[in-house]
């Protein structure tokens, strides 16, 4: 269990984390989402005491991280994969980390095997690929067999097999009653992995709810309707919080009401429906809706140096989607 109360972090005039309170419960995978610069990493660093909060407190299982007798047994953290001396081998790195807690070489070999690092364990970390570095970071986090696991972008740089492995691993660990706190930019991955989501934007908590609730609340449910009498249907449905968009004459995208209600309206007016499909929004849509206002680094064409415009034109489509 991780509990943050009024957590605030300022660097000079910049407020990275602004009065954030949340609880991460055991037995679940809690996802941590937010745009770049939203304060996710800073929050995670404060949990394990690498950054000191300007105000507020954060505890793990009721105590500040540094008050635990066996910190690595309490929390395993992957904060950045490159927190390793490049001149040392993965095996020696893990051995040195474990030695602080009396964790022996047998466990070191176990986590190496679990993370699939056997073939490179004796090589110097400096030559590791991003994926290998990430696996070593996960191995370090698992070393103390911790009750709480904090992973910042764990699937970053992993191959598809690795992504699935991380997903199964954290779900399995959560099912054992451990606390899992996970950040990721891969929304589809988060939708598959997390039970609960905390969304951070500009250092504040924008949402803190189960995945299903967040998707429903923010993206809402759209109903796709196909009718030869679409124009008539629009007239009947219009009003009271209902918004309708139409791309082709017979097709409508209706939000703000249910498929059931639309069907009843159509039946009462004796309108023909060819299709009536509720479309659930994705976590990605929900996330975009939530963070629209709080994205710190908007991608935009304005203000760019003319030299960059050429390159930017090709990205126009993507850029619209990001905004």
């Amino acid at each position: 269990m991780i509990e943050a109360h009024g957590l605030t972090k300022r660097y000079g005039k910049t407020t990275a984390v602004d009065d954030v309170s949340f609880t991460v419960h055991p037995g679940k995978v809690t996802g941590f989402l937010g745009p770049n610069g939203a304060g996710k990493s800073t929050t995670m660093r404060m949990i394990v005491g690498l950054d000191h909060p300007t105000h507020g407190t954060v505890t793990v299982n009721g105590r500040r991280y540094d008050q635990h007798r066996a910190p690595l047994r309490e929390v395993g953290a992957l904060l950045d994969a490159k927190a390793v001396h490049t001149g040392r081998s993965a095996y020696n790195h893990l051995r040195a980390m474990g030695a602080t807690h009396g964790i022996g070489t047998a466990r070191v070999r176990e986590v190496i095997e679990m993370t699939g690092l056997e073939s490179v364990a004796r090589k110097r970390v400096g030559g590791f690929s991003l994926g290998m570095g990430q696996r070593l970071g996960i191995a370090s986090a698992l070393l103390g067999d911790p009750h709480t696991l904090i992973l910042d972008e764990p699937v970053n740089g992993l191959d598809p097999e690795g992504v699935v492995w991380v997903r199964n691993l954290v779900r399995y660990l959560a099912s054992q009653g451990r606390t899992i706190f996970l950040s990721s930019h891969l929304m589809s991955e988060m939708a598959l992995t997390a039970d609960h989501i905390i969304v951070l934007g500009r250092g504040r908590v924008l949402a803190d709810a189960p995945v299903a609730d967040i998707v429903e609340r923010s993206a809402g449910t759209t109903v796709r309707v196909c009718s030869p009498q679409a124009a008539r249907l629009v007239e009947l449905l219009a009003g009271k919080g209902v918004s309708i968009t139409s791309t082709t004459p017979q097709w409508l995208e209706v939000t703000g009401t249910t498929a059931q209600a639309i069907g009843e309206v159509a039946a009462a007016a004796q309108l023909v429906l060819h299709e009536l499909t509720p479309v659930t929004g994705s976590l990605e849509d929900a996330y975009m809706a939530l963070t629209q206002e709080s994205v710190e680094y908007h991608s935009t064409t304005t203000g760019l140096h003319p030299d960059h415009l050429g390159a930017d034109l090709g990205l126009a489509g993507t850029e619209g989607a990001i905004r």
Binding site: R45, V48, G49, L50, D51, H52, Y65, D66, H68, R69, A70, P71, L72, R73, A77, L79, D80, K82, A83, V84, H85, T86, G87, R88, S89, N92, H93, R95, A96, M97, G98, A99, T100, H101, G102, I103, G104, T105, A106, R107, E110, E113, M114, T115, G116, S140, L142, L143, G144, D145, E161, W165, N168, L169, Y172, L173
Partner: protein, 284 residues
């Protein structure tokens, strides 16, 4: 990559302590730092260079002494070789002292270290202990080998250092003591600056440039000069006769060998304290 391996807790495997014994202790942190220390090529190399530099210099000078007819009549003179050797070896020792800590900052390793030891200070002290003990042992071995070499070259001429002479013994013991203190000085400055190049420049600049500038015959400087770390500490490497000769017409305080060494230790304590305070306060 199977999750089934996870079922076995950290402690089920043979050879590991029982579950309730997985916790932080200072001896374990020292052990961790020792593993880190000896698993880097740079540390191993720097220690080897320290040893080779000292033995090499002593061998060279002994050979020169041996070839000179009637050089020196008592053993004390030949101890000057140790002073020269220690002055050169201190360059390697400074590099090691700085890199032991700044290497962790430049690679990001420090975040792993401090996540494992969140109270932070035990990690700093453990690093200092490992560094100090290693340097002390290696330089003691270097002095031992050097003594053997001198006996070989100069024994017949009765020029080898006399282990029964109190002053000679003080100088021989002084070499590891001086190098250890200088290593800790460099370590403290490395911990304060957290940047390899900056800290190396600062320590070498202090020892090789600044302290020499303070020898300029200008009164205010000469009052401070005896208390600078290198100038004060290296008194322990000098024969009394040399200290007396240098004190002729000296303006500032003249420190004895042990007084000088105490001043160097005071610098180490002050700088390490500052490093400890900042380590607690700063974000990693």
């Amino acid at each position: 990559m199977s999750t089934s391996v996870l079922l076995s807790p950290a402690t089920s495997s043979q050879g590991n302590p029982p579950a309730d014994d997985v916790r932080l202790t200072f001896p374990r942190i020292v052990r961790s730092e020792w593993i880190k220390f000896r698993t880097l090529r740079s540390t191993v190399w720097t220690l080897a260079i320290t040893l080779l530099l000292m033995v090499g210099i002593v061998t060279m000078f002994s050979a020169i002494f041996a070839s000179q007819e009637g050089a020196g009549n008592d053993g004390t003179d030949s101890t000057v070789v140790f002073t020269i050797a220690a002055n050169l070896a201190q360059l390697a020792v400074v590099v090691l002292g700085v890199l032991v800590i700044t290497g962790e900052y430049s690679t990001g390793m420090i975040r792993s270290t401090l996540a494992a030891v969140p109270r932070r200070l035990p990690a700093l002290w453990a690093k200092g202990v490992v560094l100090a003990v290693s340097i002390f042992l290696v330089s003691t071995v270097a002095v031992g080998i050097s003594l053997g070499v001198m006996q070989l070259f100069l024994g017949a001429k009765r020029l080898a250092p006399d282990p029964h002479d109190a002053e000679t013994v003080r100088i021989l013991v002084g070499v590891p003591l001086y190098l250890t203190a200088i290593a800790l000085l460099a370590f403290a400055i490395g911990a304060l600056m957290r940047h390899s190049a900056g800290a190396l420049a600062a320590v070498l600049g202090l020892l090789l440039v600044v302290e020499n500038l303070f020898l300029i015959p200008w009164k205010p400087l000469q009052h401070i000069s005896p208390f600078l770390p290198g100038t004060a500490g290296s008194k322990i490497l000098m024969p009394k006769a040399q200290i007396d000769a240098m004190s002729q017409g000296a303006v500032g305080t003249v420190l004895g060998p042990w007084q000088g060494y105490a001043v160097l230790l005071a610098w180490v304590v002050v700088l390490l304290t500052a490093a400890a305070v900042l380590l607690r306060r700063r974000n990693a």
